[in-house]
Symmetry: C2
């Protein structure tokens, strides 16, 4: 409950104005309770993001490499369209620019979050399911980038129903179906 | 000089802490001078960004559609790697989340900035230089997205020398040269 309140506070107030007092109020607990577990706001925010990461990634066991890839891209688009993570992202990006510790956390967290997608691309390239000449990391940047570009720089989030079309662009294939 | 100082202030302080007083100090002028021309900080920041936009876009007259596209992508990568605009981008993204007027400005400014790239893609698709089935806007999101994803979510800006490789991914072509 405290972690959820921390995400709400970060999304609404931003990192600079983030206050433990306000998180305590949102969660209906005393400030002391929070300080007993988290000594400063970064520790609290980091734990809140770890909680998010432990929740719902899509399953990557069944299906062809292409189907798995579309499933991941659709999931990322859904998260970017509407989630506590997406609501906090602008605050994180700005804080990463100003606070070295937050920057280290943000970059490490992002690197871990995109790792499964890169592995999936690497496997598909190796197996010949995806074009052999593709660079997995660059393809991941294009897929994730298109989605987060829409979230951060346009008025319309990327439509999760266009996941297949986006995968087609990056894999260099004609639209199917 | 005042506009340059406004960009420095925005990049370093962020939008919330942005102060006209501090801009005046950076520019070596009185506060009153600034208020005479710009009634509030958004007006000042908007003019500063318009000044940036009027400066150096790459020429789009000579060369094949492919060469022009690479030139634009390389230019965007250079801007994302090192420029006053790039330094201010995290502050803009965060402020757009919290301030409706800044949000309107940010989205309009971004839409104008990517327009030439989308037009270039549309023309190349129409002429058959780029794959016929490509969606110009989605391709632009993938190209720009990869570059800004690296700027905002990773520890390494996108290398402008990889412009051709990125164009290859999105046009679905084998690396050349």
């Amino acid at each position: 409950m405290i972690l959820g309140a921390a995400l709400d506070e970060l999304g609404e107030a931003g990192y600079g104005a983030f206050s433990i007092e306000s998180v305590a109020e949102r969660a209906g607990v005393g400030k002391a309770t929070i300080y007993r577990h988290w000594r400063h706001k970064l520790a609290l925010i980091a734990d809140a993001f770890r909680m998010l990461q432990d929740e719902g990634d899509p399953e990557l066991v069944t299906g062809t490499p292409r189907e798995k890839l579309e499933r991941v891209v659709r999931h990322v688009a859904q998260v970017a369209k509407h989630s506590p993570f997406s609501k906090c992202l602008p605050a994180l990006i700005d804080a990463a620019e100003r606070d070295p510790e937050l920057r280290t956390f943000h970059r490490r967290f992002q690197a871990e979050a995109r790792r499964p997608l890169i592995v999936l691309l690497e496997q598909g390239i190796k197996s010949g399911d995806f074009p052999r000449h593709l660079n997995a990391e660059l393809a991941a940047f294009s897929l994730l980038g298109a989605i987060f570009f829409c979230r951060l720089m346009t008025s319309k989030p990327f439509d999760p129903d266009r996941a297949r079309e986006l995968v087609d662009v990056v894999l260099g294939q004609r639209p199917t179906g």
